[in-house]
């Protein structure tokens, strides 16, 4: 019962605290307008290079942009507590860590899914990409799954926040690497073999592929393996993130480095 309260009320409080600084003045330019321009930039580079259709870039970049709210917000979940001087209080509390951190992850996932869905809708509208009506519900599912897997990666970023002060740098690097390795902008078969191998185990790759197939008229049943793989990758990252969080928390206690990282 206590764990449920920590999960829901803690998560909700953390989400509301996020809006202490995430005002519309920050939210709209950073999370709603910027992804549209990212889509436009790559769609035009694609046109210039004569590579893929606009639909390819709209789907790839809209889904990839879920990484910004998910990876950054999970980083801030730790960094923000340190900045507000509440990290120590949280870590000495008897609350179980799993509901504590998962509670913070749920609003982040939902926000990430909203940002990706918004970018997909507006980017598609601006570039005249028609998505079949039958694909909308399955696409919504894929968007949510992508947000879940990005939040798993975000948990790793958050955990590293116990060791690294500026994990926004790390989040930026993760975002950039996802831009290359997920096939958001370069078809995977055009990447060198070692990059293709990495792309198999990073979040978003399978989700983006599934979304593109759905947009081309494939049924949900025909892409369920891709959705499953995406979920699996997300859970694996989440598990690693949680393990890292516990390990680095323990390390911080041992070396008294909680506030010095």
């Amino acid at each position: 019962m206590t764990s449920l309260r920590v999960f829901f009320i803690g998560g909700l409080t953390s989400y509301r605290a996020l809006f202490y600084w995430l005002t519309p003045w920050v939210y709209v330019p950073s999370l709603l307008v910027a992804p549209i321009f990212q889509i436009l930039l790559f769609a035009y580079i694609g046109r210039s290079a004569g590579l893929e259709s606009d639909e390819f870039y709209v789907i790839g970049n809209a889904l990839q942009y879920a990484a910004i709210p998910c990876v950054f917000a999970m980083g801030f979940a730790i960094g923000g507590e340190r900045y507000q001087k509440t990290l120590g209080s949280i870590l000495v509390s008897p609350a179980r860590r799993l509901p504590l951190f998962l509670g913070r992850a749920v609003p982040v996932m939902l926000n990430g899914a909203f940002v990706a869905a918004f970018s997909l809708a507006v980017g598609g509208f601006l570039l005249g990409v028609d998505l079949p009506a039958s694909a909308l519900a399955p696409l919504a599912l894929v968007v949510l799954v992508c947000a879940i897997s990005c939040t798993g990666l975000g948990l790793i970023n958050g955990a590293l926040g116990l060791r690294v002060r500026e994990n926004a740098v790390l989040a930026n690097i993760m975002f950039g690497l996802l831009l290359i390795f997920t096939g958001a902008n370069v078809p995977l078969d055009q990447l060198p073999g070692w990059m293709r191998a990495i792309s198999e185990v990073v979040p978003l790759t399978h989700g983006i592929e599934a979304a593109r197939l759905l947009a081309d008229g494939a049924s949900l049943g025909s892409v369920d393996h891709l959705i499953g793989q995406e979920l699996l990758v997300g859970f694996a990252y989440g598990l690693v993130g949680y393990g890292l969080l516990r390990f680095l928390e323990w390390q911080s206690r041992v070396h008294a480095t909680l506030e010095t990282a």
């Binding site: 005002t23 003045w25 920050v26 330019p29 950073s30 307008v33 910027a34 321009f37 990212q38 436009l40 930039l41 790559f42 035009y44 580079i45 694609g46 046109r47 210039s48 290079a49 004569g50 590579l51 500026e166 926004a168 740098v169 930026n172 690097i173 950039g176 690497l177 831009l179 290359i180 902008n185 370069v186 078809p187 055009q190 990447l191």
Partner: protein, 257 residues
């Protein structure tokens, strides 16, 4: 003379200070390399293979713009956090010349991006770095840095009034990359974009650097345009800095906005 010394000392101080920021350096060096890699792959795989040096130079300029934008957004905010904004404003030196070295220094740090993408392109993608007009290239680079730094000054001045200037600077990154033709020829964009691109220094900066490197077009004219726009930005900046500074004093919002 005093002004020149202030700008020179401020520029040196901020270049050193920004060089010590891991965040700033990583963002300046890694982000453009990532964008350059994507563009290399896209042009290599595409039906119309572009000149990879063209892409490399454009990606380097993207980094200079990002660095300028990031520091312009932060120039006021960082001072506000550190409690030095009031001191800077109250000092006898005009605030314009306190702000100017910061934005020039951030554009200068952006040179890491240009160097990084050129090296990356050479080492990993075999992009040849053969400059057609070395002297013009050497003139084009500082002219671009000055043009971008002065554009940063105009933006930084307007950010005096806003607490969330950093978010607005996030907003301006992709659009400027797009409309100034850093990676996409302006002719591919809708017609109304071209006049907009003419008043933005990165358009002329990238044109000057590319023309000098590839031996196309008229690099001297582009350098002149970049510097002329820089002069215009300085004039606009001197008015806006004074206006927004007075507004912030009147509303007592210097540290509270």
């Amino acid at each position: 003379m005093k002004t020149g010394r202030l700008v020179w000392a401020g520029w040196k101080f901020h270049v050193k200070s920004l060089t010590l920021s891991g965040f700033f350096l990583l963002t300046s060096a890694i982000q453009p390399v990532i964008f350059a890699s994507i563009a290399f792959f896209m042009f290599k795989a595409g039906a119309r293979e572009g000149t990879l040096l063209y892409v490399s130079l454009g990606a380097g300029l993207m980094g200079i713009w990002s660095a300028t934008l990031f520091a312009s957004g932060g120039a006021i905010q960082w001072q506000r956090w550190q409690g030095t904004l009031e001191l800077s404003i109250a000092s006898p030196a005009p605030f314009l010349f306190v702000l100017l070295p910061m934005t020039l220094a951030s554009a200068t740090i952006g040179l890491y991006s240009l160097t990084g993408t050129l090296l990356w392109g050479r080492l990993l993608f075999g992009v040849p770095f053969e400059v057609a007009h070395p002297l013009l290239f050497l003139a084009a680079v500082p002219a671009t840095v000055i043009g971008l730094g002065l554009l940063g000054l105009v933006m930084a001045s307007t950010f005096i009034l806003w607490r969330n200037a950093n978010a607005l600077s996030n907003l301006l990154e992709y659009p400027i990359w797009l409309v100034t033709g850093l990676l996409v020829p302006i002719s591919l964009l809708p017609g109304w974009v071209a006049p907009l691109s003419w008043v933005l220094a990165p358009t002329w900066g990238v044109r000057a650097i590319r023309d000098a490197a590839l031996g196309t077009g008229e690099p001297l004219a582009a350098i002149a345009m970049c510097l002329a726009l820089g002069g215009a930005y300085l004039a606009i900046g001197s008015v806006t800095v004074r206006y927004f500074e007075n507004l912030a004093r009147d509303r007592a919002t210097l540290s509270l906005t």
